[in-house]
């Protein structure tokens, strides 16, 4: 059993080692404030990474999430601002749009048998284009509810855990239960293992696929809501490349890119590692922020290499070399 957890343990080990290193370098790193900020700053990325985890576990990919986040922020800014829709109502509509958009992509993937990469690439352009259609400029959101929600927080020994960080943690918790403790979750793993066998074993392939992309779209919209709270604005160029950050977090977290293996908790650690690198660079002050990308790239590369090695060792003899 332990070897199933090996990728997860590796990732967690890397995070712990990294954190200790940072603490050795900067003494302030040990404070609760840094830890809370780490969670708050990456809340939107974490939420979307949960959806991405399901998609990748099923053997798919969702490139549209960054654009859905941007669309949601612009939609909220317009709905709450000029249109005067109550924010909570606007949140619900945004979630519905995101979920419906994802479900539609899932339906196309299933019905037409087009690879998810292509379908969600199209979705990415569509959603980004749609947000430009709403507004090409950054629209500030000044509703009092925003200020109130942003003030909500859980004080933890000197730091404060913001609402959006709490939302992220809850989403991770719910995602973990959904993936590992429900029949739907088992079906997701089944699809990622071998879609043909899954069908023969009676897994409702179409329904599961649609639900997976619906979940990813819905969580991307939730992530957009969080992002708009975080920035108090809607901007159609927001969250560019977030889909790739999310994929990176999921893969660094030990989820096999080909599907079927991994844990939602792994993606959480993946997010923390990315956040850690960012925080380190901020603390350092002399490094350009692009170093984050370089570090993430290097990590991603080594993790995929390590995964491949695990795979080769596990499957024993012939299985891998014939693939």
């Amino acid at each position: 059993m332990t070897r199933r957890f090996l990728p997860l343990l590796t990732t967690t080990g890397v995070f712990v080692a990294g954190y200790l290193l940072c603490m050795a370098e900067f003494h302030n790193f040990a404070t609760a404030r840094v830890a809370c900020n780490l969670l708050t700053d990456n809340a939107y990325l974490g939420i979307t990474a949960v959806g991405m985890t399901f998609v990748i576990l099923s053997g798919g990919i969702d490139l549209s999430v960054g654009s859905v986040i941007a669309f949601t922020t612009v939609f909220l800014a317009i709905a709450i601002g000029p249109l005067r829709i109550p924010p909570l109502m606007a949140f619900l509509i945004a979630l519905a749009i995101g979920a419906a958009f994802g479900a539609a992509m899932g339906a196309v993937i299933h019905a037409l048998g087009i690879p998810p990469f292509i379908v969600t690439l199209a979705g990415m352009f569509l959603a980004r284009g749609a947000s430009f259609l709403l507004s090409t400029e950054s629209v500030p959101i000044t509703h009092p509810l925003y200020a109130m929600l942003n003030d909500l927080s859980l004080p933890i020994s000197g730091g404060r855990l913001g609402l959006i960080a709490i939302v992220m943690l809850l989403v991770f918790l719910a995602g973990g239960i959904l993936a590992h403790r429900t029949r739907f979750g088992a079906n997701v793993f089944a699809l990622g293992g071998n879609p043909a066998s899954a069908r023969l074993m009676g897994v409702p392939v179409g329904r599961t696929l649609i639900l997976i992309y619906m979940l990813s779209g819905g969580l991307a919209a939730l992530s957009g809501i969080v992002f708009s709270l975080y920035t108090s604005a809607g901007y159609s160029l927001a969250a560019t490349g977030t889909e790739l950050d999310a994929i990176a977090a999921v893969v660094i977290g030990g989820v096999l890119l080909t599907g079927g293996y991994g844990y939602v908790f792994g993606s959480f650690v993946g997010i923390l590692i990315q956040g850690l690198i960012q925080t380190f660079i901020t603390f350092d002050g002399t490094l350009s922020s692009w170093w984050t990308k370089i570090a993430v790239g290097a990590l991603l590369f080594s993790f995929i290499g390590v995964q491949r090695l695990f795979q080769v060792f596990w499957s024993g003899s012939g299985d891998v070399d014939t693939a």
Partner: protein
């Protein structure tokens, strides 16, 4: 066991089943009866129709005619899940389970025990352990990922899942193909248990020993028709093989016998084999000699060819060319040694359908020269024309995509591909399958002509009469082993069938 004779409790009755595919009548009024508590072998060579029958039974294909009655009710399975609901479970050669999930999850996928809406993993593992114990797998931890279990264990788990989904009819489609002897025994124990529980089992296999070891009855199909149903204890092996291959010419007079040529070993294989794939064999083929290879489907004929051409890596034995030991670890080595191989499945392994006839012909030669030294288009044209004329390939021009040519002409183009490399040893796997009668004769004439030109050849064929007509020697394969070599006047269709049928 119970009284099978009276036809007392027929579980599954198939009557007059027909299925047409464009140009082929895959099943032509086939009857098949499965009784409760029996293991029934369904046998036949390639194209006999057994896989079509199974696919209709499991809902993959729709039938064009006939009736299927299960427990007296007409059924018409629409897909695999529907067949499962009708209590027909199927286990295939490639295990159709999920290697990434645990054994327990594989057993319970889609019907996991729930507690408060969540999957009760502990309860599921407990129940899985009970099922595993029922099947003699108490040593298997239900939490292990299925992919870590040996194939035989996975097969049994697949069976356990099918039966646990309340199957009455269990279809086992070549489940033993990749198992070793001990694993086959384990599977047989499970099958006997299920038979005792009254489940009807349809067992498809290429291993006649296994048929006699476990089956109560045998139904043989040939060319889409029912040849007959027999009780295993009343059917001799020779009769069974005859049923499967068809009545050969009674007076199998040797057509034409060359003088046994003094064999100058061109290519010699000594103890070449691969565990779990093919038993080691010895074979020496001289220039100008045709060695025929006969045996039932799955007897190891194509496996031999693949080892000889380096498509599979042998794990024992040595190979000599002109008396010198050579290295043969890949098809590239084989091409370097001037070997050629026309595989059995022309469409998937042989021709490149979208490329022109010319490109297909020069493919092997170009590969041997290496891509750094391309043949000029003039050279290509000359080579292609030479072979089109020499082999009488009928085509409007050499630039026609090869997929539009007839099967016989495709086969000739494949031959041309290797002849262009001036090979010393050529392996032909079922060179006459699926081509019309006229082309048959031409291919056979070609084989004889090439051999007269000093080529060493190994020809694999299910057409015994053909094998008899062109072979200097015939190797008979059975159960992945070369069991008999016939020479000279001993080569008759009857002798070949007897050799296939003989055995423990």
């Amino acid at each position: 066991m119970t009284d099978w004779e009276g036809g007392g409790s027929a579980l599954l009755e198939i009557r007059g089943l027909s299925k047409k595919f464009p140009g082929v009548l895959a099943l032509d009024g086939v009857d098949f009866t499965l009784r409760a508590g029996e293991i029934h072998a369904l046998l036949g060579e390639n194209g006999a129709g057994k896989s079509t029958l199974i696919k209709i039974l499991t809902g993959v294909y729709r039938r064009d005619g006939g009736t299927i009655r299960l427990d007296g009710n007409d059924i018409c399975p629409t897909d695999v899940a529907d067949a499962q609901r009708l209590r027909i479970g199927t286990v295939y050669q490639e295990v159709n389970l999920l290697p990434n999930l645990s054994v327990a999850e594989n057993l319970f996928l889609g019907r996991q025990p729930l507690r408060w809406g969540l999957v009760d993993h502990r309860g599921m593992r407990r129940r899985a352990a009970a099922i595993l114990a029922d099947y003699g797998l108490s040593g298997v931890d239900p939490a292990t990922p299925l992919g870590h279990c040996p194939v035989a264990v996975q097969q049994v788990i697949a069976i356990a899942r099918a039966v646990d989904l309340s199957a009455k009819v269990l279809v086992l489609d070549e489940p033993t193909a990749s198992l070793d002897r001990r694993e086959v025994e384990m599977l047989f124990r499970v099958m006997r248990d299920l038979r005792a529980r009254g489940i009807g089992i349809i067992f498809i296999t290429h291993f006649l020993d296994q048929v006699y070891a476990i089956c109560d009855r045998i139904t043989v199909l040939r060319n889409g028709r029912l040849v007959g149903e027999r009780r295993t204890d009343q059917l001799s092996r020779l009769d069974l093989v005859t049923m499967m291959l068809g009545r050969a010419m009674a007076a199998g007079a040797p057509m034409r016998r060359r003088e046994a040529v003094a064999r100058r070993g061109v290519v010699a294989f000594e103890g070449v084999g691969k565990s779990r794939y093919l038993h080691p064999f010895d074979l020496e083929i001289g220039a100008g000699e045709v060695v025929g290879m006969a045996g039932l489907l799955g007897s190891g004929r194509t496996e031999t060819a693949r080892l000889m051409f380096g498509l599979e890596r042998a794990d024992s034995g040595r190979i000599f060319v002109d008396g010198r030991p050579v290295r043969l670890r890949s098809p590239k080595d084989a091409v370097r040694l001037a070997f050629g191989y026309c595989p059995e499945d022309r469409k998937t392994d042989g021709i490149v359908g979208d490329l022109s006839l010319r490109a297909n012909i020069i493919l092997a030669l170009q590969a041997r020269r290496g891509w750094m030294r391309p043949l000029s288009s003039r050279e290509q044209e000359a080579i292609a024309q030479t072979f089109i004329t020499r082999l009488d390939i009928r085509t409007p021009d050499a630039d026609r995509p090869i997929q539009y040519l007839s099967g016989g002409n495709q086969q000739k183009a494949l031959l041309a591909r290797w002849l262009a490399t001036s090979p010393r040893f050529l392996i032909l796997d079922e060179p006459t399958r699926g081509i019309d009668v006229g082309a048959h004769g031409e291919i056979i004439a070609l084989i004889e002509q090439l051999c007269a030109e000093g080529l060493a050849m190994l020809v694999i064929s299910s057409e015994l009469d053909e094998v008899v007509s062109y072979s200097d020697r015939v190797l008979v394969m059975r159960d992945r082993r070369s069991v008999r070599t016939l020479e000279g006047t001993d080569i008759t269709a009857d002798a070949i069938m007897a050799a296939i049928a003989a055995g423990a």
